[in-house]
Amino acid sequence: MTALTHLQRLEAESIHILREVAAEAANPVMLYSVGKDSAVMLHLATKAFAPGTPPFPLLHVDTTWKFRAMYELRERAAVAAGMELIVHRNPEAVALGINPFDHGSRHTDLWKTEGLKQALTAGGFDAAFGGARRDEEKSRAKERVFSFRSASHGWDPRAQRPELWNLYNTRLHPGESIRVFPLSNWTELDIWQYILAEGIEIVPLYLAAPRPTVERDGQLLMVDDDRFRLLPGERPVDRSIRFRTLGCYPLSGAVESTADTLPAVIQEMLLTTTSERQGRVIDHDQAASMEKKKREGYF
């Protein structure tokens, strides 16, 4: 017998976690953000239940402000996996016309944090898979694979259950739910390596191409549709860019790059000197910000 490689061990562990939840949760759902981590998670789910299809739906908490390329892949990926796709848009945010240009942090609060809570409550989901990894951010290093949320979706670091061996306690009181992170032990490099090895389809925006951009507050933003509000004097300029993380397009900072293949992207990632989350505007305020958001129910 040859020893397993680290990717084989990670893959086996993730599949084990996916199956445990399918077996023990009453009504699981997979949060699907269309990003590269979601792509890997979905790929693992199809493997875990092959030749059947995963016994849970996909849930996309939409903000209406994602990149167009993300919406295209979303539909295609759900069909390819043979899974039901639930798209939730917070009706309050729809009614108020919440957008990243006028509403700052309320955009994230209403569309994502509140939208997610609404969708989970409405669906009666007791377990939700998420693609978060422990290596993303310091407060996540202590996150359990199975993360318990109160009936109001809050997270209490002191109320989390010890996880021994690969035994997960999935018992819940009515109204409580679990967020499950099958990719907990993967690093960014592992994700890229796996996408490459498995030929997993990802949003083309991860690869460099000429795209219309403006530079604002030190960030390169892509003008993905005509809702982008140009400031006086601002004109979109075509630059060769790619994205390290994808979210709402007016909030996702691009990097200038010519890396138009996966190996080239990995090469750039390894040669670069900044960590992955830097492109997300949300993290910049303070070191403990992600922990605060998590306590409030942000994924």
Binding site: M1, L4, T5, H6, L7, Q8, R9, E11, A12, E13, I15, H16, R19, E20, A22, A23, A48, F49, A50, P51, G52, T53, R134, K138, S139, A141, K142, P157, R158, Q160, R161, P162, E163, L164, W165, N166, L167, N169, R171, S184, N185, T187, L189, D190, Q193, L196, A197, P263, A264, I266, Q267, L270, L271, T272, T274, S275, Q278, A287, A288, E291
Partner: protein, 637 residues
């Protein structure tokens, strides 16, 4: 810090990314834990490993520099501990309060570090972190040597079964890099470690603060010619043993349509190949492996650590909780175990109370006896204790309501380690490791040739019990016993109710009510109940059974734990006021002799398994009894 350690990726990345990726794809993985006292510099050591192995990016370094200036303890230098101490609550307290997992990679390996706190009250975190680790790094402060805390951590490492220990003698810079100091600490530790059964130790003198012997050899310690910490972590061989028989706990039955039926799980031990004969445990049926589906599709064989789906040659009953195993050497089955239990909850163990026990993919209701003893992991030795409090480690007999497929923990954590869950709070309250089954006889559950009493019970999917209701005439025994039986029946349990009056119409109609006849009455009922329990039934008996010695006689007929004495404790005044059959009135009138409570004594049980108060409704009492016997959650497990 020196500029030499600034972020610089592997040279191969820039030169030949494809070659780098090929090499990266072939990496193995090592999971290890670090443990030490609060001030041993553990977080600093891990921060240093991350930093020196280039797992820290420039923006994180900026944040680190800012944090170091604000809250650091290293003056103008970077405080590496801040790279690791994550949650704001613990940063304010200045101690690590939980298990944090960190990642870094070298050209040889990917590493997952469980950073486990050294503070005494957090033993549970260390056991948690250790449960998935291949290796333990035990830190010792060179100025202090082996402390009580060091011994405690070593005991835990040994308990959890980690076979590789690194003794990291840290802060060598503070003892002038003195070899004699190092040698004395190592000699001291080796003696102690050997005494508790740890014999594979690698001792390394180092400094988390200066980086000496972490990644690069330390010029200040030319007398040390062993590997650096990282070199050792890269080289240590931790592959799973290959000579174990095949075991796969079934997680999930994959049945997308009527053309496919597969059994999914993670191979816990050994390997399996198409054509192998396998046995479904506990049922015992054998069949052969027709197909194996791995993560990449059809394959001829699979080994430990792989998540697979097996298709079997025969249509055979197999469900989540079963274990598919090598037919020739299946795991044992038992329902009572001597286990080492680490208590992790603020609420202490309640002996006799039902907890959910999860082992591999099996979940059952378990009760624990009072601990045989508690292990003193600091001073060594044991002490008696009536219960287990948080962070206690005890040797306890665990009994389950259904037979469990298991292995001794020493033979494998996958079928030897379990967690206990409180059914009220749903908290994970304990981790346990099976030392041995209590009755070796249960070993034959899977042998189909002998229809043993265990086989009878296993077929019914229940543990036999004799629920012995005792109490005065009119106390409500029959009423409650009837309710309990109806409820158990509805839950799919196989039961039979022996009622005093009915038995006296037939089996015991030759007996009267003299003391001798009453003893014989109970003896016969006890023997019948015993036979029915041998057949696997849950037997309910409703007899006054006034004499303690008679009840003890029946108890002794049955295997330990099967006799459940239920004292229906209605005071004489209450029972007499009810007098459903008018017997008390007749006895008071002198029409019946030797009537219990009137002119014949009732000896109340001193320690019944359950006591039913007269004020409790029959329905509530019945519910409580059902819960005690099988656990109210059992039906939906």
């Amino acid at each position: 810090m020196s500029a030499a350690h600034a972020y610089a990726p592997d040279a191969l990345v820039a030169r030949d990314i494809d070659a780098y990726l090929t090499r990266h794809a072939a990496k193995s993985m090592l999971r290890f834990i670090t443990c030490g006292s609060v001030d041993d510099g553990k977080s600093t050591l891990i921060g240093r490993l991350l930093y020196d192995s280039r797992a820290v990016f420039a923006d994180q370094l900026d944040a680190l520099a800012a944090d170091s200036a604000r809250t650091g303890t290293q003056g103008t230098n970077l405080d590496f501990a801040l790279l690791v101490d994550g949650l704001s609550a613990e940063r304010e307290q200045g101690i690590t309060i939980d298990v944090a997992y960190r990642f870094f990679a070298t050209p040889a390996r990917k590493f997952i570090v469980a950073d486990t706190p050294g503070h005494e009250q957090y033993t549970r975190n260390m056991v948690t972190g250790a449960s998935t680790a291949d290796l333990a790094v035990i830190l010792v402060d060179a100025r202090k040597g082996v402390l009580a805390q060091t011994r405690r951590h070593s005991h835990l490492v040994q308990l959890v079964g980690i076979r590789h220990v690194v003794l990291a003698v840290n802060k060598m810079d503070l003892v002038g890099h003195d070899q004699a100091t190092f040698d004395a600490i190592v000699a001291d530790y080796r003696d102690f470690a050997r005494s508790i059964g740890i014999d594979r130790i690698t001792a390394i003198p180092l400094s988390g603060l200066t980086g000496a012997n972490i990644v690069d050899p330390a010029p200040a310690m030319p007398w040390y010619d062993g590997p650096t910490l990282l070199a050792h972590l890269e080289a240590v061989e931790v592959a799973a043993p290959t000579d174990r028989p095949f075991r796969m706990p079934v997680q999930w039955v994959n049945r997308p349509d009527q053309h496919f039926r597969g059994f999914s799980g993670l191979v816990a031990a050994g390997g399996v190949a198409v054509g192998d004969e396998v046995r479904i445990v506990p049922a015992g049926r054998t069949t052969t492996v027709a197909r194996i589906l791995g993560p990449d599709g059809e394959r001829p064989r699979a080994d430990a650590g792989t998540s697979i789906t097996l298709v079997l040659a025969d249509e055979i009953d197999c469900a989540r909780g079963d274990v598919i195993a090598a037919a020739a050497s299946p795991p044992e089955v038992a329902d009572a175990f001597v286990s080492t239990v680490v208590w992790m909850d603020a609420a202490p163990l309640v002996p006799g109370r039902g907890y959910l026990l999860k082992l591999a993919t099996q979940t059952v209701v378990a009760t624990l006896q009072p601990p045989r003893h508690v292990v003193d992991v600091t001073a060594g030795g044991t002490r008696p204790a009536a219960t287990l409090a948080i962070n206690d480690i005890g040797v306890v007999e665990v009994r389950t309501d259904r037979p469990l497929v298991f292995e001794r923990y020493a033979d494998g954590a996958a079928l030897g380690g379990f967690i206990l869950i409180d059914r009220e709070t749903n908290a994970t309250v304990a981790a346990g490791m099976i030392d041995e089954p209590v009755r070796r006889a249960s070993n034959i559950h899977w042998q189909q040739v002998d229809v043993t009493r265990a086989a009878h019970a296993a077929q019914k999917g229940q543990s036999p019990r004799v629920l012995w209701f005792t109490g005065l005439s009119g106390s409500g025994k029959s009423t409650i016993a009837n309710l309990v039986e109806r409820r158990l029946h509805a839950l799919g349990r196989h039961t039979f109710l022996l009622d005093g009056d009915n038995v006296r119409h037939g089996l015991n109609r030759d007996l009267g009510f003299s003391e001798t006849d009453r003893v014989e009455n109970i003896r016969r009922v006890g023997e019948v109940a015993h036979l029915m329990a041998d057949a696997g039934l849950i037997v309910l008996t409703a007899f006054i059974s006034p004499f303690a010695a008679d009840r003890a006689m029946v108890r002794d007929m049955l295997p330990a734990g099967e006799f459940v004495e239920i004292f229906v404790d209605a005071p004489l005044a209450v029972a007499e006021a009810r007098d459903p059959k008018g017997l008390y009135a007749k006895a008071r009138a002198g029409l019946i002799a030797d009537f219990t409570g009137i002119d014949s004594p009732y000896e109340p049980p001193a320690a019944p398994e359950l006591r039913i108060d007269a004020r409790e409704s029959a329905e509530a009492a019945a519910e409580r009894i059902v819960e005690y016997v099988i656990g109210v959650w059992s039906h939906d497990l």
